[in-house]
Symmetry: C2
Subunit: 338 residues, 2 copies
DNA sequence: ATGCCCTACACAAACGTTTGCCGCAAGTGC
DNA sequence: GCACTTGCGGCAAACGTTTGTGTAGGGCAT
């Protein structure tokens, strides 16, 4: 449309219509019916057509300066390379676009110093609120943030009583345990992920609970921590195997960690699923494409992101909100067959 | 620091120091030496200390309104879930943060209507420039954008004469061909990716060139198109195999497509690398963890992102810039052994 | 005719910066 | 003694919105 020319302003269209900018502003920012409070029907039409004809676009800086709202939210994730968080962010961004707001996203690499500095950076950009995908359990950082009056929600991981949109990971863990027990497995090893992530902790807790209810106790050395990626899964699995015998099932709290685990087992000539069953988590598209298709838990990552953003928006509107817990779903494939 | 109180403004610190806001502004926005043009050394010190003590943060909306520069750049990618583009974006974001600017990123899903609408959305947010990771070869969209005077650069894919930061994909293709030929392969099938992506096209062209120079002609039906993910690679491979016999090597222009290809071969009982060698592209972390570790081309994804942003910034400063072509590197693993 | 309430706008003051220009005093050269 | 620079800083006008308040004119009841 306009070819590099000056952007059209409220005043320009006000002049063209022969009316004050205030009237134009009100008409633009009101619904059809609401606008009638401020202008006659004909005037509304004239303004609307001129606005459309000139291709007027509100200057968001001027508007934000005046209203003290930016329509911006900041998103912190451990790492965007991680398929899971990337998907969650896609959900956030999709919902944000629907609501006419924009998002900044950045990696914290799960390092506290980054979380703090990146948060301040977001705040200096005057975001209206924040979404954290990298919450650390028991970290006072979020508490102090809340005390400063900063609005935020959590996605993927939960922490304390802060509002969050997560998968019901405890239930997810239970589903895994029930499936493994039903298929005759009795000695379950768990790649539990990072100690500070509620995701791995809850999934692990779910397995432990369900096993206990079935009369099976999981020994502490069967639970190992490590990164949520393939190399992390590899290392964790090696530590697991070195600590005395091979379990007959391994639950990786993340599909990528499961892939790393399968690498180790292949190297050692341990058969999957004959010698040991493997279960992942998140139902990554890769899970179905692996040499040995992976049994896993489908988690609503996209929906978690959407919910996280909508919760934040509700908070910003001053509504009382409650955390959202979405349902996981078991997907059985070859890695636990037989 | 400040506990939810009113944000501190330029006027507040000006009043506290007992000086005009203009002076404070100039001191803040100048280097140590430059500031001496506007204030005495003692005054500079006093202003600096008060600014630090009060924790002053410039209001970017007010500044942008005045300067008509936002310090924002928009980034369009096909999909953030894609590891490759996520990594490129990490590079962009990292470089952006270093330069004190912020980025919006959004998915276009490689659909032209999204590219257009998302671009307009970014522009309505008053971005200073754009970075496209989803350029379509021969698409006039970018040309019209350039004609409108909008500044942008391309990453990952190139298109026309627009400034871009890419991997030297033709060279990458040649490296693959040379390796396969050297290890005795003669009949190469290529999963070429999307027709509109220069990445797949250039990589394919590189193979074809190198083979031709070695006196080997690749038949057109050996080149199949498809998605850059695992399911895409699976489908493309199936079409490839149905078109008459199995080649003794398959070059997937993307690691994930290679994984899909390996799935098909496994299903059909075709041995890798004995019956057919497989090569991927990008050297994803997963490549080394697969059941059959994947020979692939390492491409500087992160660096591409950094270069793309720095090129854009140079353009915005009005400098004359040239496209950047980064070097690929062959990584040999088991999938082409023997 | 008076008072009053609508409708349909207009006025103007912010919001917090940046930046062109002006001014004053002290120094400088002659 | 003069004109002239130079150093240091103030003044005020923008940038483009939003929003509280003001106000004409018309209709209505009294």
């Amino acid at each position: 449309m306009d070819k590099g020319s000056e952007p059209v302003t409220l005043r320009m269209i006000a002049d063209e219509v022969g009316v004050n900018v205030s009237t134009v502003s009100r008409v633009i920012n009101s619904s059809d019916k609401e606008a009638r409070r401020w202008a006659s029907s004909e005037m509304i039409d004239r303004i609307r057509t001129v606005v459309a004809a000139r291709g007027y676009q509100r200057n968001p800086h001027a508007a934000s300066l005046r209203t003290r709202r930016s329509g911006l939210v900041g998103v912190l994730v451990p790492r965007l390379q991680d398929f899971v968080l990337a998907t969650v962010y896609e959900g956030i961004e999709e919902a944000a676009t629907e609501q006419g707001i924009s998002t900044f996203v950045t990696n914290s690499l799960d390092r506290p110093e980054n979380q703090a500095s990146r948060t301040e950076l977001m705040l200096s950009r005057r975001v209206d609120g924040l979404i954290f995908g990298d919450a650390h359990a028991g970290d006072p950082f979020l508490d102090t943030l809340a005390k400063r009056g900063i609005k935020f929600t959590l996605v993927s991981r939960r922490s304390g009583d802060h509002i969050s949109a997560t998968c019901d990971d405890i239930l997810g863990g239970r589903l895994v345990a029930e499936h493994l027990l039903a298929t005759g497995r009795r000695d379950i090893g768990i790649l539990s992920g990072r100690q500070y992530a509620s995701t791995g902790n809850d999934r692990t807790a779910g397995v432990v609970q369900a096993c206990l209810e079935a009369g099976i106790r999981i020994r502490p050395e069967r639970i190992v921590h490590g990164g949520f990626d393939a190399p992390g899964g590899r290392q964790a699995t090696e530590r697991l195997l070195e600590q005395g015998g091979c379990p007959d099932a391994i639950f990786a709290t993340n599909d990528f960690a499961a892939i790393g685990a399968m690498g180790v087992l292949r190297d050692r000539g341990i058969g999957v699923p004959d010698d040991v069953a493997i279960v992942g988590y998140n139902d990554t598209p890769l899970a179905a494409e692996l040499s040995i298709p992976l049994t896993t838990i489908h988690s609503p990552m996209h929906e978690m992101g959407r919910a996280g953003l909508n919760l934040l928006l509700a908070m910003l509107r001053g509504e009382a909100v409650q955390s959202v817990r979405l349902a996981p779903e078991l997907v059985v494939r070859a890695s636990t067959a037989g």
